[in-house]
């Protein structure tokens, strides 16, 4: 078995359910999408690099999982303030993880 970690170390990362209010392609990029994500107590801008496989419309109104305590990163001039969690196979095909509508916005994922 490769290296294993204490669960407490995993729990320092905050994952939350966010509702995607807006989504649009970032101009002059091949696969960057800018999402505006509602976490209940705050709204954040998130850049996701899967615009080669999905359209902006695939995200709007959906609830997905985000990591919210990573260092913000500027990508193509846009500050990404959280990271979208997706599933991805070995060939790079991405599957969106969309939560049920009944899940409240902002709840923790752990």
């Amino acid at each position: 078995m490769s290296e294993v970690y204490d669960v407490e170390e995993f729990w320092k990362f905050k994952m939350k359910v966010g509702l995607i209010r807006e989504a649009q392609r970032i101009p002059r990029t091949k696969k960057l999408l800018k999402l505006v994500v509602d976490f209940g107590d705050e709204t954040r801008t998130v850049v996701a690099g899967i615009g080669d496989q999905y359209e902006a419309e695939d995200f709007i109104g959906k609830k997905m999982i985000f990591v919210t305590n990573l260092k913000p990163k500027k990508i193509a001039g846009v500050e990404s303030q959280a990271m979208l969690i997706v599933a991805e196979d070995k060939e790079g095909k991405v599957y969106l993880i969309t939560l049920s509508e009944e899940v409240p916005v902002g709840v923790k994922v752990w």
Copy 2:
């Protein structure tokens, strides 16, 4: 903003899509469920503490997200070899995160 982390640190944790083949209550416990989870290349036993809110039948045949490189932990005599990821509100109500059937077993979540 509270403490933030490098994304590389988050990526050391392996999250994967697992297909729950079997689920049953662990006898003489109030809320422990034992899941047998297929990750494609291996099968693991996982203990989940949400049997007060869900029945074993809610899990069987479903694809959910697991962290697979945490230290194994013995719970009520059963070794848990991965951790089920769920959403939970402030009152402790748990929401299962069930992936679409089209998502292949064993793919990474990140």
